[in-house]
């Protein structure tokens, strides 16, 4: 990243990727274009786009997207003049061929994701991203499942594989600020000059506090979505992050007025209502279950005539991770038997 001063924070915007979880991956080309154009005008550094689970993930298991990866990337690329385009790839869902396709369609930043303790599954695709000449970032999903020392070790591994920024996602919205402080502190100590990423969810109403804790502990790439548009109770809210970081002396380089306009467009065009901490999202955060399970759990529980709260606690007990959506009907069947 250019001109990094001590206090500068880069806001990374996965509205058009993580937000897809809130609308069953059904954003159309006009919606993508409207938001990407507005975010670009506001000077958002990176606009990430794709299926909620990233490249190659459109499926019955993870939800079928309205548009193909190619269609999404083409529309967003055309809408961006200065923002960089980001994509998300989790090995096992997406492949090297998907990565190459995204680079060919103009992706500037490729984020390779692995579940908390599995940095080594990202090794190959980080190498491929570097070889393709794009910025290669790496993130650990469901990071609450392991402790600070182990996360730090995993982040150091990711750097050894070529990652140019590394960090942790609070995929379940489970963290308290002190959890974030200890983890980001451990990670920043382990990675030296490499930028550290934090991605927060709001299931416990702490996305903003957690993001601020991450910045205080040394993270310099913070994820936020317009109006919090994202899985479950939503993500750290991008425009609020920009305002709060400005007040706390961390310039983001974003035009706040234009960002507010982009957030208004997001609210008007992308969602029926901004995310809220409803009962199911709160339980999901408490139980440590991936926020993207919210809609599939609600639907399976309704069809099966069981309480979605019970479903979530059992999924938490089973320590399921994103991608294991088949465990939702399995838990519903178990509850029906008891």
């Amino acid at each position: 990243m250019e001109e990094v001063t001590e206090s500068k924070v880069v806001l990374y915007d996965p509205t058009l990727r993580d937000g897809h979880h809130a609308v069953r991956h059904q954003l159309d080309a006009d919606q993508l274009r409207a938001y990407a154009t507005a975010a670009d005008q506001a000077g958002v550094p990176v606009v990430e786009v794709g299926h909620g689970n990233g490249l190659g993930a459109s499926s019955h298991q993870l939800g079928q997207a309205k548009l193909s990866d190619d269609e999404m990337l083409t529309v967003v690329r055309e809408s961006l003049t200065r923002s960089r385009m980001g994509v998300f790839l989790a090995p096992g869902w997406g492949t090297g061929a998907d990565l190459a396709g995204a680079v060919a369609r103009g992706a500037d930043v490729v984020r390779i994701a692995a579940h908390c303790s599995q940095a080594d599954v990202a090794e190959r695709h980080l190498g491929e991203a570097r070889a393709a000449g794009v910025e290669a970032q790496a993130v650990l999903l469901m990071s609450h499942m392991i402790g600070p020392a182990e996360l730090a070790e995993q982040c150091a591994l990711l750097i050894s594989y070529g990652a140019q920024a590394v960090g942790i996602m609070d995929s379940a919205g489970h963290y308290l600020p002190t959890d974030v402080t200890t983890r980001i502190t451990a990670v920043t100590r382990a990675v030296g000059e490499v930028p550290v990423i934090f991605h927060g969810h709001n299931n416990l109403g702490l996305a903003m506090a957690n993001s601020l804790a991450a910045v205080t502990a040394g993270a310099t790439v913070i994820d936020g979505c317009a109006r919090g548009f994202g899985a479950g109770a939503g993500n750290a809210q991008l425009e609020v992050l920009a305002a709060v970081l400005q007040r706390t002396g961390h310039p983001t380089g974003i035009d706040l007025h234009q960002l507010l306009a982009a957030a208004d467009i997001a609210e008007a065009r992308l969602m029926s209502a901004p995310p809220t901490i409803d009962s199911i999202s709160l339980v999901s955060g408490l139980a440590g279950v991936f926020s993207g399970f919210k809609l599939p759990v609600l639907e399976a529980a309704r069809r099966g005539g069981v309480d979605p709260v019970d479903v979530l606690f059992e999924l938490g007990r089973r320590q399921v991770v994103a991608g294991q959506e088949d465990q939702i009907p399995a838990v519903v069947r178990q509850l029906q038997r008891t």
Partner: protein, 300 residues
Amino acid sequence: MKEPAARLKAAVLGTGKIGMDLAERLGKSGVLECALIVGRAETSIGLHRAAELGLATMAGGITAFVEAQERFDVVFDASNAAVHTAHWDALAATGAVLVDLTPSSTGTRVVPTVNGDRAVRSSRHFNMISCGGQTAIPVLHAIAATCTPAYVEVVATAATASTGRGTRLNIDEYIATTQAAVRELTGAPRVKALLNLSPAQPEPPFRVQVTMLAPDARPGPVRAAVHAAADRVRAFAPGYAVTSCSVTGERIDVALEVTAHSSHIPDYAGNLDIINAAAVHTAERAAAALAREGATPWKR
């Protein structure tokens, strides 16, 4: 089948999780014996453990193995896909029955209960596809005989601890090979494979969820086909189970679980169990077929 007086000589390439379990499994085979296990580095933990178990070992990997020119009836390749492809010709030239456990794309793809009989008559070089393929294809093939599949999805979830470095580096090959094999053996025009590695503690069993879309799906025949197919797999992999099977309109969902029934690998590592059970089963049948023809590759 009459058991040969002397067991046929098998070599195992690779000292990872798959290779070590194969070696131990061959110790129980009435047909094959593990005469050599080959690792890359002299110092590898796997080779050390193999030696401790009393097995003959060789370092230097597949290159050293090919150069040594020792004759084997069966060679199991549990190294990795790229290495396998590079040495395919050299291995084939030895005349041994070749069983490839890497997700490469060489050899006849075989799922014992689906095309095992045909494959062992027509080929000496077998590709065991993948753990997800060995679990999903028996039921998918059986269902496909009752309807016309338009789309198939195979989602496998393995415990992190049951996967080694080879698996993690070869995830793309796992996906490509699994998809190609499902297409080939079910006739479905569109196929998607996904793989999850679970960090949960304690480790969950190996699970495979298969979804098929077929406009002419009929619940009764589908269920009967699924359960009959599972019975056939259990003949050589007793931990194979159907945990649910549902047909809703054109959508068929089957949940499968494999637990390992081996004293040497943990119960949750059904992914290792299923592919190794299928590999040994195939090698035994291929060796028996060759013996029947009086064409055992290397008579001693």
